[in-house]
């Protein structure tokens, strides 16, 4: 037990040391800091899903961590999206997914990110009156600019597919376009 504790503490110290080592580099580029963000905006069903439910407002939270000093980040997203319709159809989706974010190597004030990810979405549907987890995939991009060294303001567009064709007999997947304004904060504790 003591030994385990020692291992954990050592790992933590090592991690802090690594992060501290990178801190100097981040001084030059704050966007490479770990980030926490929120987004809010219109979420729209598209393609076949457009016929069953209507556009609404949605939002979510995300966290990102830069993979060392590369152009890549790892991200985790969770969001809440509720779609209603004129009729009895309604959908509530809570996608939880991991993603890889690639920052285009363009030297200017604006930054451009491309994103792809996969995970699971908790889907609750009426009139089926059932809820379940389905695989989901996402891809998209965002454009943003730093607001001081602490935060970034972004516009994001993301396609979300809730995959259901793996179910025998299923003919359709769910297709959604999430757009939104987002703010993320550079969480650099060594600066």
């Amino acid at each position: 037990m003591k030994r385990n504790l020692f291992v954990y503490m050592s790992a933590l110290l090592l991690l802090l040391a690594v992060m501290n080592g990178e801190a100097e580099a981040r001084q030059l580029d704050p966007a490479k800091s770990p980030q926490l963000g929120i987004w809010f905006g219109p979420v729209a069903p598209i393609y076949t899903t457009r016929k069953t439910v209507d556009t609404n407002l949605g939002g979510g939270l995300y966290a990102r961590y830069n993979i060392f000093q590369t152009q890549f980040k790892l991200g985790a997203d969770v969001s809440y999206q509720k779609y209603k319709s004129r009729g009895v159809n309604s959908l509530r989706i809570i996608p939880v997914y991991g993603s890889v974010i690639y920052r285009l190597p363009i030297k200017m004030l604006l930054f451009f990110n491309l994103k792809a990810g996969a995970g699971q979405a908790h889907v609750k549907a009426m009139p089926l009156n059932k809820s379940q987890w389905d695989p989901c995939f996402t891809g998209g991009g965002e454009v943003g600019f730093p607001v001081g060294s602490m935060a970034n303001l972004c516009l994001r567009v993301e396609y979300l597919m809730v995959y259901e064709k793996y179910i025998s007999g299923a003919k359709r997947n769910g297709h959604f376009l999430n757009t939104g304004l987002s703010v993320n904060f550079n969480m650099d504790m060594f600066r």
Binding site: T48, T49, K51, T52, V53, I67, F68, T70, L74, R86, G87, V88, N89, L91, V96, Y97, G98, V100, G117, A118, G119, Q120, V123, A125, M126, P127, L128, N129, K130, Q132, W133, D134, P135, C136, F137, V162, E164, Y166, I167, G169, A170, K171, R172, N173, G174
Partner: protein, 456 residues
């Protein structure tokens, strides 16, 4: 190191992506409805009786200011007055089931008053709908009708009875001949005196009973059949139209007042859009056919409903009558702009004000022990009207004496052979009718039995 990190991330994605997934095709279920709605304007579920021809009996006793014969004598050039309307226009806003908005699609429909139009030939018109909630018990349909219009409606000047014009109404965004009866169908006369008047509306929606209920399990296709009794149940009413200083007398066709009686000077004709609904799976139905008296009516009632049989034949007006009109206080209207008209109006208004307070209290009493009071009499009348039923399966035999009932789902039925009623009446006489029992089983239908023979 970098590559290893990415590999681990990929494995995590795969695990997260495919662990504990559901087994329901949610998006298919929302897009493909297994339910369809059919709306029929007939009492019969198939093979309805042909339209009758116009007879003076169709003129309601509301026609008192300008009697039909007087109108015809004043306006000899007016042709087509003594005939049925030629078209019925229906504007359905949406259909709900126990409040669930499963068919929020507007439908406008022009139905010629003929025996071949789908609304009147027993086939019905389809209404678009979505799916309903799984495993929920439903017991009623709400049919939201925006407009119900019959043509052959005239406007007359009140003093002379001279024909002014054919009434036109906006329907489907265009002016068309006809009078919209929906504003007059909101209330019955009784509703206008009750406290709950502000929350009462008898036409938007029309409450349609779904005897036996309906639970959708998603395993089969279903048809919801809604029948409104329109064909052969029309009547011509009179109404005073007032717009500022302009007075006109309207003669127009509406639904027959066979459920809630309408009398002279009544402002509303509501409560007469009587309907029934039933649900069946088109993959699991059969037909019942056989021989019976020529032109008679054959109806089938679920055996479980036989204890409630009295609710089916209470349509005869002699069984429940409307309470005496002399009890009803009516707000007087200005009969003419002459001084004598004003004097008459103020005297009537005083009498009305004096009586109205006591009267409305009486109508709205909850603890009324006086069994002869107006309140109790009309409450009993209203309650019994509310419980009236139409058989889920009904048809008229042909002139050769054979009948066929189609789309019969499995169940135990009691069948009655009833006499062909006169115009504007529903078949009655269950207690003296010839009765047959039949049991339609699912096993029979699945083994290919397409017809049950039941002779009377």
């Amino acid at each position: 190191m970098k590559r290893k990190g990415l590999n681990i991330f990929g494995v995590i994605l795969l695990v997260v992506g495919y662990a504990s997934c559901g087994d329901q095709a949610i998006f298919d279920d929302m897009a493909d409805s297994n339910i369809s709605i059919v709306l029929k304007g007939t009492y019969e579920s198939n093979n309805p009786k042909n339209w009758g021809v116009f007879s003076p009996d169709m003129n309601d006793d509301t026609i008192s200011i300008l009697p039909s014969n007087y109108v015809k004598s004043v306006n000899p050039s007016m042709t087509g007055y003594d005939s049925l309307p030629s078209v019925f226009r229906l504007d359905v806003a949406e259909v709900r089931i126990n409040g669930d908005k499963f068919a929020n699609y507007r439908k406008t429909y022009n139905a010629p008053i003929t025996d071949i139009d789908p609304l009147f030939n027993g086939v019905g018109i389809p209404l678009k709908c979505d799916s309903v909630v799984r495993d929920k018990h439903y017991s009623k349909i709400e049919l939201y009708t925006r407009k119900m219009i019959f043509d052959n409606a005239q406007s007359f000047t009140p003093e002379s009875g001279v024909f002014e014009k054919e009434i036109t109404t906006v329907f489907d965004e265009e002016y068309r001949p006809g009078y919209d009866i929906n504003p007059d169908q909101i209330f019955t006369l009784y509703d206008t005196l009750r406290e709950e008047k502000s929350s009462t509306n008898r036409i938007f929606p029309v409450d349609v009973a779904l005897p036996g209920g309906f639970v959708y399990d998603g395993s089969a296709r279903y048809v919801i059949e809604i029948r409104m009794v329109i064909k052969n149940f029309l009547r011509r009413y009179e109404k005073v139209y007032v717009n500022g200083n302009k007075y006109r007398i309207y003669h127009f066709f509406g639904l027959s007042d066979w459920v809630h009686d309408v009398r002279q000077h009544d402002d509303f004709i509501g409560g007469n859009c009587f309907s029934v609904a039933r649900v069946y799976s088109p993959d699991l139905v059969t037909t019942i056919s056989g021989d019976c008296a020529a032109n008679s009516y054959i109806v089938a009632i679920p055996a479980s409903d036989v204890p409630n049989l009295s609710l089916y034949y209470d349509f005869d007006d002699t069984i429940i009558d409307r309470p005496d009109d002399s009890y009803i206080p009516r707000q007087p209207s200005l009969p003419s702009k002459h001084i004598s008209g004003y004097l008459e109006y103020y005297v009537d208004m005083e009498k009305y004000d004096d009586f109205y307070g006591d009267y409305v209290l009486n109508v709205n009493k909850d603890d009324d022990l006086d069994t002869t009071s107006y309140h109790n009499v009309w409450d009993a009348y209203n309650d019994r009207r509310k419980d009236l039923r139409i058989p889920p399966l009904a048809t008229q035999a042909n002139a050769l004496g054979s009948y066929i009932l189609t789309n019969v789902p499995p169940g135990e039925y009691v069948m009655y052979e009833l006499a062909n009623p006169v115009w504007g009446k529903l078949p009655t006489g269950y207690s003296t009718a010839t009765v047959r029992n039949v049991t339609v089983t699912e096993a029979d239908i699945r083994s290919g039995v397409t017809t049950y023979d039941v002779d009377f």
